[in-house]
């Protein structure tokens, strides 16, 4: 049985594939992809509606990049089905419906930024104006620079420009802000808002919960090749339990502790209790009120990676 919040009655609203979602921008049905003995993507299903901004959230090795590569038709699933605007990924790309930014997308060496953009633009029937793309991607002043002389952040902006220039209906971005500094990142998401306001759909991957939280309407969380949660950012944050309260008590009644407001799960090692919380403030107040013997209390954040591991351990159990 898979841990799927909607299936286990958790408050996370599932928007994953249902049989009647015929007009979705993206539909992924039971897709699996293996590399040798490694199951990179394991029976993944998800759907993206028109105009939605979806974050594919997960730690490194979760299968995000492999999933994106299949969405773009750059690799084929071993089993399962992928539809982009009702057609195959390859055909969606050929018909200029999809623009994408890859982590390992390279640039034609020896040419200028402006030359490259103009060439790529010429491949589309209804592209954006060159000036508009340069502005959105914050490439102003770099048009005469050789593409192999760009910094990491500048290259990333050029990749964005190449993804946008065809004015695609769906934008797929693999860790788009990875090489960006804080300011560029902010500018990037601001530009993306302008893009979605025109009814465009965005699917991006990230391993930062904060980024997914700020930028996405919905988060699809992946770990070890599977979709482990699918819902609004606030529902995801609640279900994951990103804070932990540790304390010592003489009678660690686990089941009772888990019912405290704001608590998600509890575990004990001898007298030391670890309480995973979605809202550590409420949980702490309730703990102090109901357990006067609790002492050596500490509250800490946990890394997203640890949260993923907890969830995937839940799958294995």
């Amino acid at each position: 049985m898979t841990y799927h919040p909607s299936a286990t009655g958790s408050p996370v609203a599932s928007r994953s594939t249902s049989p009647d979602s015929g007009d979705d921008a993206v539909r992924v049905d039971g897709v699996t992809r293996r590399f040798g003995a490694v199951l990179a993507v394991d029976n993944v299903s998800l759907s993206v509606g028109h105009g939605e901004t979806i974050a594919l959230l997960g730690p490194n090795g979760a299968g995000k990049t492999t999933t994106i590569s299949m969405l773009l038709g750059l690799s084929a699933p071993d089993s399962g089905r992928i539809e982009i605007f009702g057609s195959t990924p390859g055909s969606a790309t050929a018909h200029a419906n999809v623009g994408a930014m890859l982590q390992d997308g390279g640039m034609m060496p020896g040419v200028l930024v402006g030359e490259l953009l103009a060439m790529v633009r010429s491949l589309y029937e209804a592209p954006l104006a060159l000036g508009e793309v340069v502005e959105i991607a914050q490439l102003g002043g770099l048009e005469k620079r050789r593409v192999d002389r760009l910094s990491g952040g500048q290259s990333q902006r050029l990749r964005l420009a190449m993804a946008l220039v065809g004015d695609p209906r769906l934008l797929i971005l693999d860790e788009p802000t990875a090489a960006m500094d804080v300011e560029t990142r902010r500018g990037f998401w601001h530009a993306m808002e302008g893009f979605t306001e025109r009814g465009r759909t965005i699917l991006f991957s990230t391993h930062y919960l904060e980024e997914a939280d700020v930028a996405a309407d919905r988060i699809v969380m992946m770990a070890r090749g599977r979709v482990v949660a699918d819902g609004t950012p606030s529902a995801i944050k609640d279900s994951v339990g990103l804070r932990v309260i540790r304390f010592t008590t003489e009678h660690a009644a686990i089941a009772e502790l888990e019912t405290l407001p704001g608590a998600v799960s509890a575990s004990a090692h001898g007298n030391r209790v670890e309480l995973r919380c979605s809202n550590s403030d409420s949980a702490l107040r309730a703990l102090i009120a109901t357990r006067p013997d609790a002492h050596d209390i500490e509250v800490a954040g946990i890394a997203l990676e640890d949260a993923f591991i907890t969830i995937t351990d839940g799958i294995a159990a």
């Binding site: 773009l72 750059l74 690799s75 084929a76 790309t93 050929a94 018909h95 200029a96 999809v98 623009g99 994408a100 890859l102 390992d104 997308g105 390279g106 640039m107 034609m108 060496p109 020896g110 040419v111 030359e115 490259l116 103009a118 060439m119 790529v120 010429s122 491949l123 589309y124 990749r159 190449m162 993804a163 065809g166």
Partner: protein, 246 residues
């Protein structure tokens, strides 16, 4: 696709080191060989040595320009991820390969033209006016098999490997194909091999024109067969181009 083709060519022209290698080498070799082997007794094609060696070196340079523009560059673009990036545009894989093939073909021209100019200016070569454009055109067109061979090399080998493999192929094709010395001086089993090579038939095309006779159909057919073979192989291995990351 035309803009992509144009940009591929522009990128090559901008690469000075590459241009110097593909056009400078045959010109230098022409000056050396036509001076050292200047006596007509050494030649077997019934042409003045300065003319015979001019055609041979133009073919040699054209072949090198095409091989190097096609194979190592493809391997590099594959490793850089540029091909993967290009696959995200509406440009189909077939068109990408076609454009690269044509861009590589265009790189046969610098060596041909420069060798001819040096032959006329330095060695006083003179041919009937109509023969010049025909020579340029035929030698350039005859490089089609090398462009396809380069695509195969650039697909199966990575970076330095593609560079090395291209060099080996280039030198073997040139030496065995009779571009440096007449194939008649080779041992006879090697002569048989030599006469199946595209480089041999490329030179024959040019030598026919330089003699003022029509090129033999056989030479054209052998070159076409090499192109067809290499192109089929290229299609068979080209799945690697996009489905795999470097």
């Amino acid at each position: 696709m035309l803009k992509y083709l144009a940009l591929e060519i522009r990128r090559s022209i901008r690469d000075r080191r590459y241009l110097l290698l593909v056009a400078g080498w045959p010109v230098a070799a022409y000056l050396l060989f036509s001076t050292v082997f200047g006596s007509a007794a050494d030649r077997t094609e019934g042409l003045a040595p300065t003319v015979e060696i001019m055609v041979a070196m133009a073919s040699f340079g054209a072949m090198g320009g095409v091989l190097m523009a096609s194979g190592p560059r493809l391997a590099m673009d594959r490793q850089l991820g540029w091909l993967r990036q290009l696959r995200l545009t509406p440009l189909s894989p077939a068109r990408i390969l076609a454009a690269r093939l044509m861009a590589a073909m265009a790189l046969s021209l610098p060596a041909i033209v420069l060798t001819f100019i040096v032959a006329v200016l330095v060695k006083g070569v003179s041919l009937p006016l109509w023969e010049w454009p025909l020579l340029v055109l035929l030698i350039a067109a005859g490089c089609l098999p090398f462009a396809a061979i380069g695509i195969v090399v650039g697909t199966i080998a990575d970076g330095d490997g593609a560079q090395g493999l291209t060099m080996v192929l280039y030198l073997v094709l040139a030496a065995l194909g009779g571009l440096w010395m007449p194939v008649q001086i080779l041992p006879s089993p090697l002569q048989t091999v030599a006469k199946t090579l595209p480089s041999y038939h490329l030179a024959q095309l040019g030598w026919h024109i330089a003699r003022g006779v029509a090129p033999a159909l056989g030479d054209g057919l052998v070159l076409l067969a090499w192109f067809a073979g290499a192109a089929l192989l290229a299609v068979a291995v080209s799945r690697r181009l996009t489905l795999r990351t470097a």
